[in-house]
Symmetry: C2
């Protein structure tokens, strides 16, 4: 098709004066573009990975199929946790990832996804789209040659599966827990021994007792891993992921080279995927929760003692990292100021409305 259109334009240019003016405009504004997107997620996580497909499908629809993005599951091109690197070094044009996976490069990455006692899903959107979050994060990302946009959210996650009841901070001591990233550093302060285990290895590790606990996502995804079959107690809330935001990342040069209408397609399709993923999680989680409870899962709230100790530990980690990392401090301070204002307002109408609805169900 590309060949035919080029030939068409060249031929037309010879034909008529009017055509000579119109032709370059069409050629520049609607070129055929092919991108590859590498995801950090497997296809089995259909809600998360599905958002990359929604994104690609939307970009194609918006451009009359001229801009095609082929999506690849984690591991097909590069390992899941190297999705950002693959964009940075130009292996692919785009990625779908959770930015907090890269907290080892710099813990500042965590603020783009979720941090302990951070904002909920809707607040994160307010910060990103109308609170300066997108600009602030991309200023930080520049040195990685990546431009990133919000592309999904899980909502508040569950606190995970435990083989034994956890009532006090003492019960956490020595507990081997599969927990990812920055949250693990906070958990360590509480005596937990964080374990990094890929999705496919979680079930056997928990079954054999290699680990005592695992946090994954929420009812819909956790049920698919079968975690309820090897652990009875399902705790809430996941205070380290009040809303876990996913991102699409693009090579800065690749993005800048796109025609303006294709850039708009990328921006708008990312936002669509962002909203769509949250809507899908909200739609599918209730039925999964009911099935889990009917099959014997015991729901438990983290005790006030554990919640308060976790908050104290998180604030200690924030202070420690802020003291030695100026980028982290800048992002932290902006994020927390916005969070505090958000909850000041949230506690009035939203929270009291939800509270009444829950009590009067």
């Amino acid at each position: 098709m590309t060949m035919k259109r080029r030939q068409f334009i060249r031929t037309a240019g010879i034909g008529a004066a009017g055509a000579a003016i119109a032709a370059p405009a069409i050629a520049q504004s609607a070129p055929e573009v092919r991108w590859r997107l590498t995801s950090s997620f497997p296809k089995s996580l259909d809600t998360i990975y599905g958002a990359s497909e929604t994104f690609a499908k939307t970009v194609a629809e918006l451009t009359d199929n001229r801009f095609q993005i082929q999506t690849f599951a984690g591991g097909e091109i590069v390992p899941p946790l190297q999705a950002l690197d693959a964009v940075q070094n130009g292996t692919v044009e785009a990625c779908q990832t959770a930015m907090y996976y890269y907290w080892g490069k710099d813990p500042t990455f965590a603020f783009a996804t979720a941090v302990p006692f951070g904002m909920n899903s809707r607040m994160e959107d307010a910060w990103m789209y109308h609170g300066g979050g997108i600009d602030l994060f991309n200023e930080f990302l520049k040195e990685y040659n990546v431009y990133a946009l919000p592309g999904g959210n899980t909502g508040c996650q569950m606190g995970g599966w435990f083989r034994k009841e956890i009532k006090t901070v003492a019960d956490l001591n020595g507990l081997k827990m599969r927990i990812a990233g920055f949250a693990g550093a906070v958990m360590q302060k509480l005596g937990v021994v964080p374990q990094v285990i890929a999705g496919g290895d979680i079930y056997p590790a928990l079954e054999k007792g290699t680990i005592d606990s695992v946090e994954w996502v929420g009812p819909y995804d956790d049920e698919k891993l079968g975690l309820n079959k090897v652990a009875q107690f399902y705790y809430y809330p996941g205070w380290w992921e009040g809303g876990a935001m996913l991102h699409f990342g693009f090579g800065i040069d690749k993005f800048n080279q796109l025609p303006k209408s294709y850039q708009a397609a990328v921006r708008t399709a990312s936002l669509m995927a962002n909203k769509d993923m949250q809507a899908k999680y909200d739609a599918v989680n209730p039925a999964a929760l009911k099935r889990l409870v009917q099959a014997g899962t015991q729901l438990r709230a983290f005790s006030p003692e554990i919640m308060n100790a976790s908050l104290k530990a998180a604030n200690e980690v924030y202070a420690e990292v802020s003291a030695k990392n100026a980028k982290f401090k800048k992002m932290h301070d902006a994020y927390m100021a916005f969070r505090n204002d958000q909850y000041l307002w949230w506690q009035v109408a939203e929270f009291n409305y939800d509270n009444f609805m829950i009590r009067s169900r």
Copy 2:
């Protein structure tokens, strides 16, 4: 531009065989289209009206400015509450409106925007995008020749401004309250005398004591009307608008005649406006709330007695209307089943997370 492009294609068709195949595809897929959109809102409500501008701007960007939608404030073409009618009868191609304005035609309209003790903003999205809501509502809308898509949300609104404290249901008796639509029918059961007053007339009516109370939106919009200067008590939550969703409506024929990529632009830009409006409200409300409280506004929660009586009254109205309106009953039953499942899940992770964050701020 249109003329030139047509001429170009015709000329090109003569030039080469390849061009003869490619030409019709371009002509059909990227025509120049001009639409007019009439809003139900004034430009002064910059967050709501601004979403129609965001929508139009996004459609233009996505189509290289070939599809232009000119937006008009309420009253510029047709009166604010006739926006839907103007699309139905073909006066304009599109509108931005709150569907519950048309509850007088059929109370079923209310479910698309907000109903007393309905879903919150995020749940409404889950219902619309992944719970069958969009299809169900458009099935109902067909006889109005309108196809509608979600295009914004205010989040949970405030319960409004009162010149005197309202502690019991008895305090509501005879109270003249500016309250719109279906919620007014529920308020009547509590003894309230609902008043329909346009935005610009609210302030003087409340100042003169023609009305005793007014519900409008939330801190950001209410502050702009200056309502805090003529009433001291600001109640929450607005139990009749747990999340007020706005819509864009399009003439069904007009929408169907669009090239597929333009239809995708309309769908995606509507969704963008939906998310963007909520994010903006969330971003601007906290500062407005702080200013109001600093200037002397007294925040008050509706008493449990009033909340419980309101829920009872709402359920009575639902039963009464369902008994005589099959369309209403169908929509009501689908909506409430989804709501109940949503709150079953919401009460676990989301609510407990927010609860802890609010208490430990």
